[in-house]
């Protein structure tokens, strides 16, 4: 069975204040006048290495685990996955 690397990205919903992202934008990037950057949002990334029959099965299992163990708080965060391949 092939092994997949599935990245889980946990990001706060847009309405949640993100002081970390704001600090990176305002006190680092914009201070150097990189004004083309309009927004920075911080997030957490977890990488799961999983044996599965295919990419879809790997992502489904990882998302199920994320929900089961409350890896993200659905009130404030959203989760997305991206698979790096076998």
């Amino acid at each position: 069975m092939p092994s997949f690397k599935v990245n889980v990205i946990i990001e706060n919903k847009p309405e949640i204040v993100d002081p970390e992202g704001d600090t990176i934008l305002n006190d680092l990037i914009l201070k150097d006048k990189k004004t083309s950057i309009k927004k920075v949002r911080s997030a957490k990334m977890l990488r799961f290495v999983i044996d599965a029959k295919n990419k879809e099965s790997a992502e489904k299992t990882v998302l199920t685990i994320c929900n089961q163990f409350r890896i993200f708080n659905p009130l404030v965060s959203k989760v997305s996955v991206e698979t790096l391949g076998a």
Partner: protein, 226 residues
């Protein structure tokens, strides 16, 4: 009357809570390890502060899956008084016993200072000896203490009188300045500030009496003469 103080890996206010309950307010208190069963003869439960599992992933979320939480949930349903302080509040939220979320303080700093909170619900097992709008000088010490709930949840909290404490000053960007809430039934209360660090005059530079009334409320609830 006996109070269980639940100890998780990384709890660090469990001994302080045990001391205040037993030595100051003369309640029998028992430290209970998180993988043990809840003793049968318990009348109230406290989830103390600290850094369970080093705040890995999100403060309180891993402890919320501890075996004893199933027992805590059962007791919550039966109406037992349950108090979560700081990390204990985070665990109650992450276990679903209380609504909302506790996010990083807007300052991104760990805050450790004295502040004041205001009593907004004096009907709970932990506030019934306090007056409405009474101010409590109290210690806060947290990094993820910014209470957040969406507008719908906040409306429900207000409607059901579940907002128990608010901060008297802006401290961390919490929704509606919330410092503590209860469940709908009122028997489960979570609060970020530390009453166990504030209820003795020898360690409180202000007035320790209001914070001591949180524990005297529990005595009152349990039918123990204070």
């Amino acid at each position: 009357m006996k109070v269980a103080v639940i100890v998780f890996p990384g709890s660090n206010c469990d001994r302080d809570m045990h001391h205040v309950l037993t030595d100051v307010f003369h309640l029998k208190s028992q430290l209970v390890w998180h993988t043990d069963e809840l003793p049968k003869n318990i009348d109230a439960i406290v989830l103390p502060g600290g850094f369970s599992y080093g705040d890995r992933l999100r403060a309180g979320v891993i402890a919320a899956h501890s075996p004893i939480i199933k027992d805590v949930k059962k007791m919550a349903e039966k109406g037992m008084p349950i108090l979560g302080v700081c990390n204990g509040f985070q665990i109650l939220v992450e276990s679903g016993l209380l609504p909302g979320a506790l996010l990083k303080n807007t300052s991104l700093n760990f805050m450790c200072k004295w502040t004041e909170i205001i009593v907004k619900n004096n009907k709970t097992p932990f506030t019934n000896k306090l007056k409405l709008d009474q101010r409590i000088p109290i210690a806060i010490a947290n990094g993820e203490g910014r209470y957040y709930a969406d507008d719908k949840t906040l409306a429900l909290l207000k409607k059901n009188n579940q907002i128990v404490f608010t901060y008297a000053e802006e401290v961390n960007g919490a929704s509606l300045g919330i410092a503590g809430i209860s469940n709908k039934a009122g028997n489960v209360v979570g609060m970020m500030p530390h009453p166990e660090r504030s209820a003795e005059q020898i360690i409180n530079p202000n007035n320790s009496k209001p914070a001591s009334l949180i524990f005297e409320s529990l005595l009152n609830t349990l039918g123990v003469t204070a």
